[in-house]
């Protein structure tokens, strides 16, 4: 019997190339003649389907790093490779969910979700079905005709999530997307993200400063340190999901991360 290729990959994970590779990435800001090392040699790689949290305090360059992955910001040296190809501009293969409200205020919930998909398919029926599917995936079917200013912050972030997931990005980049929500909404959104991740199996890079959020979500946590910004620790979180914040192994990871952040 001929072995199929998937089986080979499973047997020898070493051959499989990473989806995203970041090599010796540096960013220097020049302000008034003096230069500031914001990121000083970032190296890591991301496999398909991984959920990675980048954890760090304010000013460690984690958002800068995410902006460079998204293609919004140039870097000083190093390289970012997606499927082996260098990343230069923003594109729908690396979608972003921002911390701020960036929905189009003149479009309804439904139109916002459909926005990126428009022009990609000629099949009207398939288009409508797809929009419908993502509306219900984030649980906003009843709010389809509302404008962004008429819905809550948590619902806005659901729309922001749906409008990029519908584009089937290779990597989903999330920049502290739940930071401005209240504790309960944040927890709801984390659960929603996890369940979407399980159904759609995206690759996610999630930037946060919240230790609990990182341990709740991530397969792997990259802890960043500042001055200059660098990766201080690369920690695999092998807890089963759903994770309970009160359990001792959860707390073990939290404590470890707090310690890492303080150093």
């Amino acid at each position: 019997m001929k072995p199929n290729s998937a089986a080979i990959f499973k047997a020898r994970p070493g051959i499989r190339k990473a989806l995203l590779e970041i090599n010796h990435l540096k960013k220097v800001f020049h302000i008034n003649g003096s230069s500031l090392n914001v990121l000083d040699g970032i190296d890591f790689s991301v496999n398909k389907g991984e959920m990675i949290c980048i954890l760090g305090r304010s000013g460690c360059g984690k958002s800068t790093l995410l902006k460079m992955l998204a293609g919004f910001l140039s870097f000083s040296s190093g390289e970012i490779l997606l499927n082996g190809k260098p990343v230069e501009n923003p594109g729908p293969d690396r979608c972003v969910v921002f911390q701020e409200d960036t929905l189009f205020p003149w479009l309804t919930v439904e139109e916002n979700i459909a926005f990126g998909l428009r022009g990609r398919t000629r099949d009207k029926k398939a288009f409508d079905e797809e929009v419908e599917r993502f509306l219900s995936l984030v649980g906003l079917g009843e709010f389809r005709n509302y404008l962004p200013r008429e819905i809550s912050g948590g619902m806005k972030q659901r729309v922001a999530l749906a409008r990029v997931l519908i584009l089937k990005p290779e990597v989903l980049l999330m920049d502290e997307p739940f930071a401005s929500l209240d504790a309960l909404s944040r927890e709801e959104m984390q659960n929603l993200l996890l369940s979407l991740w399980e159904t759609l199996s995206h690759t996610i890079i999630f930037v946060t400063h919240d230790v609990t959020e990182a341990v709740t979500l991530a397969d792997r946590i990259l802890v960043m340190a500042k001055d200059p910004g660098r990766i201080h620790e690369d920690l695999r979180v092998d807890l089963p999901r759903p994770r309970q914040k009160e359990k001792s192994d959860f707390l073990f990871f939290s404590r470890k991360l707090y310690k890492g952040l303080r150093e």
């Binding site: 972003v96 921002f98 960036t102 189009f104 205020p105 990029v164």
Partner: protein
Amino acid sequence: MIKEKNTKLHNSVFQILPWVIPAVFMLVWIIVSETGLIPTYLLPHPVEIGKAGYTYIFRNPGDAPFAGRFLNDAGASLMRVGSGFAFAVIFGLPLGVISGRLALVRKLVSTTINALRAVPGISWLPLAMIWFGIGIKTTVFLVALAAFFPVYLNAAAGAKQVNPLLLQAGAMMGVNRLRGTFAILLPGAMPQIRTGLRLGLGISWAYLVLGELTGVPNGLGAVIMDARMLGRIDIIVVGIIIIAVMGRAGDQLLKTSLKFCFKSARRMP
């Protein structure tokens, strides 16, 4: 506790509110005319104005001076305002949006435009008459020139202040430049663009009258000028009222058609 609004009452009050000032104004006018507080050679009685207006609008030409001129005058004036304003929009809107987004273009044109903007429209009148003669061309030129600046400036300010995150969001969703301009930039700048268009259309009426004061045979400004020469103060007031009504109607038409055509205008907060 904040009381919930009684929407029905609220709505009917809002229906009446716009007419309160005109009604009070009319009342005061009637009182001062009836009591002779202001002599009629300064301000004719409203009934006289009504009669003059009726003659001007509905009676057959030749029955009396100014009889039946209305359609012809209003048509001519609308034509001039319309084409002057159209020129202002055709040049002002794209140039404004482009210079709002591109620093290079802004640097290139803004000094010149701001210098020209400082010149009062009336100073162009003699020059325009030499260039274009008396008639429609001069008027259209003056209207277009005057309306250009508010349209341009507001479009530039609007395009400049569009939230950059919206444009970034578009870019990461794979929206190209053309679609980004029409689907994100213009809707994002819509509130200011709308303000610019309204100001531009308003000022168009002002410069229409200026352009028509130069001795064109027809138009609302021409009627006012003719009436002044003949000492027909009632017709002057009729002309003023007609311009006010048409200006207000034009503004409403502009707002309504923007709302009809663009989601971003319809859904403005």
